[in-house]
Symmetry: C2
Subunit: 442 residues, 2 copies
């Protein structure tokens, strides 16, 4: 289970930071546990680690094995919550270089998460001469980006394998009952998986939305779910020792004190897209009603040599949350240099992880001294079980934190604004009036 250390933020918080929030924390916790409060229609993720469809879960594993056996690549089509969770977990556990590495599982390409012509052409080029399958993930089936990409990759599959052959290589993760993609999948006989009604996109990584691509990439999804279950059990206990309460209360207190930006930092480059997943989780849950902490991320130590100056001495409106993995997968010993050219022979024979540990400790103190509160989330190791727990921890803390902020953490009313404008400008039937208005302004 992730452990939260708030000691390096305490000098920036009033003594009552937790006690003064106790009743709000209790209420937030109770809403999640008892399935009530704003957005309770989307509380399905709270019990997900024990309350999931076992039959579907078994089919996910079977489908993953089939894709592993008949495909050299899997194209995962989805955007937002139908994209970031899978990419986050695959990069964190299998590496950002996953596709480059020698392995016996398929390459994974993400498509339909943007409108770049060049990026899409490149992905087509990378898969078209290989055996591949497609996992299209969309609750409605009508979101522009994934829908356009699906048209293209479906055509590619049909050219390559014929209409019938293509059908057996398309896996649709969509609504259980309704919608365009659901209808098509039923008609064509695609294997189907479900985007549950009571789990929002940013909370969906432990449903079929995330689990199928994650399993194809060779991650042990049983361990991932077990880790989430560990966290679910522990975080169901209310009280000051609850790690999610601590994180939610500390960030709420820092925000009230004028710390408007949270920098999620990690010393592992493989964490980059996990931070992107976290940004969606927190930014979309809390950024409403002209409120909310702005979520940003840095990769240490690289960014100590780029954003480090700003963190140390820029405007004092930020705090840091550092995710630490206590153990590495392997070990590197600093080799000796008989000439000691770089003057680092005092490190000879020491493990590189020791250097990283001292960097982490030194950075924490330097940033505190510079006026940047530090929260630390320590995770045992970069393995599936620990990461499953980390996912649930951040999800639960986000629900608590959103309720502390007195917003509905489970809606996203602002996401429609650009879509409406885009549809109008694209000339979608029914948007004629808006189109005229917008064109006048442009």
């Amino acid at each position: 289970m992730p452990k939260v250390d708030v000691s390096n933020a305490l000098p920036f918080l009033p003594a009552s930071w937790l006690a003064s929030r106790e009743s709000a924390l209790n209420e937030a916790h109770a809403r999640l546990q008892e399935n009530r409060g704003p957005g309770s229609d989307f509380h399905g993720w709270v019990r997900l680690p024990e309350n999931y469809d076992r039959e579907e879960y078994a089919r996910i594993k079977t489908a993953a094995r089939r894709i592993q056996s008949d495909s050299e690549a899997l194209v995962v089509i989805g955007i937002g919550g139908s994209y970031l969770g899978a990419r986050a977990v695959i990069e964190l556990l299998q590496s950002p270089n996953y596709n480059l590495k020698k392995k016996d599982t398929p390459d994974i390409f993400f498509a339909g998460n943007g409108l770049s012509t060049d990026a899409l052409l490149e992905t087509i080029e990378l898969v078209k001469d290989r055996d591949f399958s497609v996992n299209v993930i969309s609750k409605s089936g009508t979101t522009t980006e994934p829908a356009v990409a699906f048209r293209i990759f479906k055509n590619l599959l049909e050219e390559k394998y014929g209409k019938e052959g293509a059908k057996s290589r398309i896996y649709a993760t969509t609504d259980a009952h309704k919608g365009a993609l659901k209808g098509l999948a039923d008609t064509e006989g695609y294997e189907e998986f479900v985007v549950p009604d009571n789990v929002g996109g940013r909370y969906s990584v432990l449903t079929a939305v995330g689990l199928l691509p994650i399993a194809v990439a060779g991650v042990d999804i049983d361990a991932l779910m077990a880790g989430a279950h560990d966290a679910m059990s522990e975080l169901a206990q209310p009280g000051a020792q609850n790690a999610a309460w601590q994180y939610a209360a500390a960030r709420n207190g820092l925000y009230e004190d004028g710390k408007k930006i949270e920098l999620l930092a990690c010393y592992e480059p493989s964490f980059r897209f996990f931070a992107e997943w976290w940004k969606q989780l927190y930014g979309e849950s809390e950024g409403k009603e002209n409120r909310g902490i702005f979520p940003a991320s840095v990769e240490f130590t690289a960014d100590l040599h780029s954003m480090g100056q700003y963190i140390q001495e820029g405007e004092r409106h930020l705090f840091e949350t550092v995710v630490r993995f206590a153990a590495c997968g392997g070990e590197i010993t600093i080799p000796d240099d008989p000439q000691n050219v770089d003057g680092l022979n005092f490190l000879t024979g020491k493990p590189l992880s020791f250097v990283a540990e001292q960097a982490f400790r030194g950075v924490t103190l330097a940033h505190m001294d510079g006026g940047v509160p530090n929260l630390t989330v320590t995770v045992d190791s970069r393995d599936a079980r620990s990461v499953g727990a980390l996912i649930y921890f951040f999800e639960y803390a986000c629900g608590v934190s959103g309720y502390l902020l007195e917003v509905n953490p489970f809606d996203q009313p602002g996401v429609e604004a650009y879509k409406k404008n885009m549809f109008a400008l694209l000339g979608k039937p029914g948007f004629e009036e808006r189109k005229a208005e917008l064109e006048k302004r442009l």
Copy 2:
């Protein structure tokens, strides 16, 4: 040359946003052009596109050809400014999937930019069985991260090619006269390139620091330099039509108005690390004396489905700068779907770039309506000449902007704080007292 459009920020700025800054802009501009003012020792980048060492430049091209002919991979060892520029340009012009693509130039791996054991082990695994060379980039040769990585990859080269063979595969980009790496390179006879004294790390991408790896990756560095030269000539002209003045003045005005975060957005996924380079440029130049805009970045349209909610309705302390590439490399036509499952047949036959263009226009208006000022920087196309100009544009605007903010845009005094702590905690001789102090606090 990049064009700046401030029209979508004007409703958020006083009418005098530019006029009121005219004398400050003139002074900032004159400091850069006449090489005076705080940090003028680091103004070498201002005339770099015409005033560079031609002999060295020719050697960069020769070395790149040699690496291309004798290496399947190049390991680029450097951190901060000795890392981000090359990665930014290679990803933007050749793709984030550069290493995955079929090509006749070597893979490029970046190392020595962090302390992750697992990431370093993985890079070793990816190159050790292939023919590779090393470009070690460090002004001093004693910065911990690159120095440790260089010890390791130098050993690997020596095991593989013998001591003599290794020497001809090591390219050292370092100080012209002094320092640990310079000394070693002289002794061992490595081919040497120069980190100029009057160009800071974050401004060094168009020196050998960036140019050697960029050339190895097959980018036309003549075009890159020509683009920078275009921008240099144009931006040397003072006045309200100067694009760098416009950008610098607008962001300075927005900052004064309480917009504390600048979100650099682009619709191309290949822009991700260019945004990281930009973050260092602006964050490190302006983030001092408890001031400065916090630089952040988003990838559209992907992040409209994650950070989009926050941008539309979160705390109103941000503005957006969108970098637009006017043309794509290729074209994709939206295919027809006889069943019109997704309801998008009104787009059939249209180019995907048309959809992206309408998304961009719709997003701009939606975000303005939500209270987010928008600046647009339009670049002709994603080619070397345009990107060279974009680099120089951002560099020049950053110098102007930093002087408007009344800071020294060319120092980075805060970067040392964590290093001192780290050295002390690592037990570096000479830091005993600080170590005792820090350990007491931990």
